[in-house]
């Protein structure tokens, strides 16, 4: 899971390292660090936003405990952050049951959610079109969603149109 965490650090050397150590210790993988020096608090602390990947909730808890015991002030812990947004279009004889399977299946992939679904039904015996917007927390999960989708479309004889700038 991807976690967003905001903490306030004293503006003296070594503070950030002290805060990052527990994350590394519990297998966390830091993806970004943003210092907001221009938003110093009245007490002179600097807000720092971290985004990191970590195995599960229990490890996150251990990280938070460790930070607490080091007197690191955590002001905000966010849920997953989706960094990859993909839009795809499906064309063919799409039935409602398919759509339900599709959404459920994509939502069951770790770190992936269907954010938006739009349907344009064709006339009788005409093909319909559906647009899905899929959010993922990593390129890997985004690729997984697409590869599952293409398999699904092959089976149902649907045409899958992906984006030219898709994840590598």
């Amino acid at each position: 899971m991807l976690v967003k965490l905001v903490m306030e650090l004293e503006d003296i050397p070594g503070q950030l390292l002290r805060a990052l150590e527990p994350i590394a210790r519990y297998g966390g993988n830091i993806q970004s660090i943003i210092h907001q020096r221009e938003h110093k608090t009245p007490l002179g602390r600097v807000p720092v936003t971290l985004i990191f990947e970590i195995e599960d909730q229990s490890r996150l808890k251990r990280v938070l405990n460790a930070l607490k015991s080091r007197n690191v002030l955590v002001t905000q812990v966010g849920e997953e952050v989706y960094t990859v947004k993909q839009t795809v279009i499906l064309l063919g004889h799409i039935v409602h049951a398919d759509i339900r399977t599709l959404v459920d299946r994509i939502n069951s992939i770790t770190g992936t959610r269907v954010m938006d679904l739009s349907l344009a039904m064709g006339g009788p015996r005409k093909e319909s079109a559906a647009r899905l917007t899929i959010l993922s927390d990593s390129d890997r999960h985004a690729r997984k969603a697409i590869s599952w989708l293409s398999e699904f479309c092959k089976q149902k004889d649907l045409l899958l149109i992906t984006s030219v700038g898709g994840p590598p």
Partner: protein, 335 residues
């Protein structure tokens, strides 16, 4: 510089007209004095070892005349012409056949074996026998150019191979077929169904009576094979291309795409692992989101990151730009 032109159709005639128009430019700029010592089509050959008269050539080109309308034309085949006419450069501009590569493949091989440099616009021989022809050219010590075979006027291959030579090309993405791009662009503008826009394109002469090669993505796939081999250094065959055409695209699909700031284009994508032609969502404002019959290519590169190029992918005058570019390049190389 003596030129033998095999194929006197749209491109053969367009080349003759551009050469005539640019005669003094070519001499002033490059010191080149091209002479057309023969033009050949299916009806025969008109030859003159001192060079055919420019006014006659331009007149016949303008009239869209067959070679049999030239005075003193001979009923000989292209192969016989290649073997009997003294020249430095052979232009191979006959119709594309991506199954056999013929008649172009035989013409090119004969010309190389006779020690002639070859410039072609014909995709067939390149799709069927790319490596073989490159090897043969090397072995025979002749130059071989095919800029016009992909992207019409756009210098796709030369851009990648010469100007971007310091990069590793990671991916090539291209809108490489003017007909399908016209159809998809019109569908997007008008909300009109595929069949109707196809008929309109056929009436305008943009689509062929039999549009299969374009709408099923066969033409795009052939061009992608050439780009993969010429730029990515791969040895790809036509059958390696995963291919989906545009016949299933509906106005509703394009409308759904539009609502999220996208459009739908037929895109060829080649990397070191994959070669695929399929309809793709392209964000409006992306280099590939070009309208009308335009073509566009976007390179992903290790150093430059992205470079894209747009232009006219067909048309005799436009494509003669590539043929002339190749001619000048060959002359510079052998000078």
């Amino acid at each position: 510089m003596r030129l033998l032109i095999i194929g006197f159709g749209n491109l053969g005639r367009g080349l003759v007209e551009s050469l005539a128009e640019k005669k003094s430019f070519l001499y002033r700029r490059f010191g080149l004095k091209p002479r057309v010592v023969g033009v050949v089509d299916d009806s025969g050959a008109a030859t003159n070892n001192k060079g055919l008269d420019w006014r006659l050539l331009v007149k016949k080109a303008y009239q869209k005349a067959k070679v049999s309308a030239f005075p003193n034309y001979k009923r000989i085949s292209a192969v016989e012409a290649i073997e009997s006419v003294e020249c430095e450069i052979v232009f191979e501009l006959t119709p594309t056949n991506i199954q056999t590569g013929e008649p172009g493949l035989t013409h090119i091989k004969k010309a190389m074996k006779a020690g002639r440099h070859v410039i072609t616009s014909n995709k067939g021989p390149l799709v069927v026998a790319f490596r073989e022809l490159e090897h043969l050219a090397k072995k025979q010590g002749v130059e071989f150019r095919y800029s016009a075979s992909v992207g019409g006027a756009i210098p796709v291959i030369e851009l990648a191979r010469k100007l971007l030579a310091g990069n590793e090309v990671l991916e090539i993405q291209g809108v490489l077929n003017g007909t399908t791009n016209y159809i998809l662009s019109r569908m997007a503008e008008e909300g009109a169904p595929f069949d109707q826009v196809l008929r309109e394109a056929q009436e305008l002469g943009i689509a062929e009576k039999d549009p299969t090669l374009d709408i099923e993505g066969i033409d795009t796939a052939a061009k992608l094979v050439i780009l993969s081999n010429a730029i990515l250094g791969r040895d790809v065959k036509f059958k390696d291309v995963r291919r989906t055409g545009i016949a299933r695209i509906t106005p509703q699909a394009i409308k759904l795409a539009k609502e999220t700031g996208n459009t739908i284009k037929l895109v060829g994508v080649a990397t070191r692992q994959t070669v695929e032609v399929s309809p793709k969502l392209v964000p409006l404002g992306h280099p590939l989101a070009v309208g009308g019959t335009l073509n566009a290519v976007n390179f992903k590169l290790d150093l430059a990151r992205e470079i894209s190029i747009t232009g006219f992918g067909a048309g005799p005058r436009e494509t003669s730009s590539s043929l002339l570019g190749d001619l000048i390049d060959v002359c510079r190389t052998i000078a």
